[in-house]
Amino acid sequence: MTNTALQSDANQDVLVIEAGRTEAHYWRDLWRYRELLGFLAWRDVKVRYQQTVLGIAWAVVQPLASVAIFTFVFGQLAKMPKGNEPYFVVVMAGQLAWQLFANTIGNTSGSLLSSAQLISKVYFPRLLVPLSTVLVALVDFTIVLVIYAAVAIWTGTFPGPDVVWLPFFIALTVLLAIGAGLWLAALTVRFRDFRIIVPFLLQIGIFATPVGYQTNYLRSWRGILDYNPMTGVIDAYRWSLFRGDTPFAWHSFCISLAWTAILLASGVWYFRRTEKTFADDF
């Protein structure tokens, strides 16, 4: 741990770094570098969508394909019970939340390794690296949201007034993913196995999460499923997007909130604990 003290002294910043102390002005530093956060995010978005046709096409094709497969597997083959909404729209609402979550985790967890060059050559608060990747996930999300809106209008699945809560649920998804992403990002630097573990976990997660099915119609598994941090989030998305008379799933939602708080706090803690030696681990 290092002590960083910034004091204004005759218009000059004095920086004292001492081994064995905790940083006092970490958050202030983060604020100073806020523009870099924007620049890094803007770089990622720009690079991703520079070959515009391909960039946007991928953001469209990928979720649509998985929605189609899930609709077929769960709706047609498994004949999962459905409510008033078309099954395709139900899956798509779930996919909306899951994709944002999975993309954010995927981007953040690999971000430190792909910025290794930068991290070993320049100082800036390392938290900016995983945080800056969130924007790309949000842009992808916006594209899928537009498609969802088109499909919803086409199928006549209009939301009720509860849709005003959707931005809040989106923010919750991002925060939850960042919390997990910070852990995974820091762990990936230490143990390269996580480059393989993360996609694997996400692959399992999509089945362990009610993306392709709805929780309302599950009786026996409901108790366990509620402890999946994404269950409450996806339930909340569907609650706000559908005009159904399903009551808000408070139980799973509170569990999601708790997960978010725990992962975010511990993620930031672990990240900060390890970030000062990231440069030594590359």
Partner: protein
């Protein structure tokens, strides 16, 4: 508090080798952990981890507006010191105080994205070094002008020539205007003309605006031209601190590991020719003080020692050597007839010495080829090509060269100051 721009007190940095290289995967970590537990239970000892002090109790001060050079061979801790000072990695112990905004330039073009245009990269690179958007906008035209890339601003930098790339990267760096600039070996890139421009810019920066620069370089000429003081690091500790010439001397007199100054010429050498009536068994390069080394200042005299074993009595022989440029061009030759009488040689080991002085070799790397033959030119006993290497550094130790300008980028293998005269002007 003193008004030193940089104050470093007992700074140390420890690297654990196992931590660095071995535990890259969970499997390794588990394995390591099990070994640890086993050792404790079975042998009641701890696992002996390889530890390596990259920096050990380093203390120094740099005043505001000073340019201080850091020299030392690879692995001496120069880069670690810069990394700790620029907060890329934390020190293991010790304390440092930095006054003012710090920018570190450990690599040219850090954070450049190949797919982004020159314009985008200027903004990105500026932001990475802590500049605000408005500050970058203010300096944008200056940066473009300095880099001479105005025409290619909207071209992705991956299409830039390496020269353009480096120019753009340095231009951004040169316009960061921090209070403290930490620079690592960036002058090693780019063409000579641009290097001069960068050196000039760096000189202006400190002289005019009171900035402090800490500079690591292997280019002794650059250190000598730019720095007022220097620090010589040796094995993570400060070996010498003070005047630039003292530090450079300390650095040069250090024996280069891996490039032994005494060379045993094994009989099985591939590049060897000759009938083997006599073999040159060893070769040693010595400085004027008699210590073996192979790095010399410009025009510094040195001594070559040759051990020759005659396997049968030789009636007449010629022992000689040549100094070659890296491309095998022979620059100079000499044989023992230059000053020794023509006599025979009995069997056994014979030692020869030759003083090599006033060669005026340009800074660079040279090799030595040695040979022994009979005098009739038809019997070659032994020839070993390029068996030793030495370098001439682009710096002059004090008082040795009266014409420092000779070490500017003058082409040619020999840099001999000559005597010029000028007749009075004719009406």
């Amino acid at each position: 508090m003193s008004d030193a721009a940089i104050r470093v007190e007992n700074l140390s940095k420890l690297y654990r080798i196992s931590h660095l290289a071995k535990q890259k995967t969970i499997r390794d970590a588990v394995h390591q952990g099990m070994r640890l537990v086993w050792r404790r239970l079975r042998w009641k000892t701890r696992l002996n981890r390889e530890e390596f002090w990259a920096l050990r109790d380093v203390s120094f001060e740099v005043g505001t507006g000073e340019i201080v050079g850091i020299v030392g061979r690879n692995g001496a801790g120069k880069s670690t010191l810069l990394k700790v000072l620029s907060r890329i990695t934390e020190p293991t112990s010790g304390r440092m105080t930095l006054r003012g905004r710090v920018s570190s330039l450990l690599e040219v073009g850090t954070g450049f994205h190949p797919d982004l245009s020159g314009r985008d990269n200027i903004f990105l690179n500026g932001a990475i070094h802590g500049l605000k958007r408005t500050e970058i906008l203010k300096k944008f035209d200056q940066i473009v002008e300095f880099a001479e890339v105005a025409k290619f601003l909207d071209t992705p930098v991956k299409r830039y020539s390496s020269g353009m790339y480096v120019r753009l990267a340095f231009a951004v760096a040169a316009h960061l205007e921090p209070d403290i600039l930490i620079v690592d070996e960036v002058l090693a890139v780019g063409d000579a003309a641009f290097q001069q421009k960068c050196l000039g810019k760096m000189r202006d920066v400190t002289r005019g605006e009171g900035r402090t620069i800490l500079l690591v370089s292997h280019n002794m000429a650059a250190i000598q031209a730019l720095c007022q003081r220097a620090i010589f690091l040796n094995g993570g500790r400060i070996g010498e601190i003070g005047s630039v010439s003292d530090c450079i001397k300390a650095y040069l007199s250090q024996d280069q590991a891996g490039q032994a100054a005494r060379i045993e010429l094994s009989a099985s050498s591939d590049s060897r020719q000759g009938d083997g009536f006599a073999r040159i068994e060893n070769l040693e390069i010595l400085g004027a003080d008699g210590a073996p080394r192979n790095k010399f200042a410009f025009n510094e005299p040195f001594e070559l020692k040759l051990g020759v074993r005659a396997h049968r009595p030789l009636r007449d022989y010629v022992l000689g050597f040549s100094i070659n440029a890296v491309d095998d061009m022979i620059i100079a030759c000499s044989n023992h007839h230059d000053s020794l009488p023509r006599v025979g040689m009995e069997t056994g080991l014979h030692e020869f010495s030759v003083r090599v002085a006033d060669m005026f070799l340009s800074p660079g790397y040279y090799t030595i080829t040695v040979a022994i033959s009979d005098d009739g030119q038809h019997g070659l006993h032994d020839l070993v090509r390029n068996c030793a290497k030495f370098s001439v550094e682009s710096y002059h130790s004090e008082g040795r060269v009266d014409h420092p300008h000779i070490l500017d980028d003058r082409p040619g293998l020999i840099r001999r100051p000559l005597v010029w005269t000028k007749d009075p002007a004719k009406k």
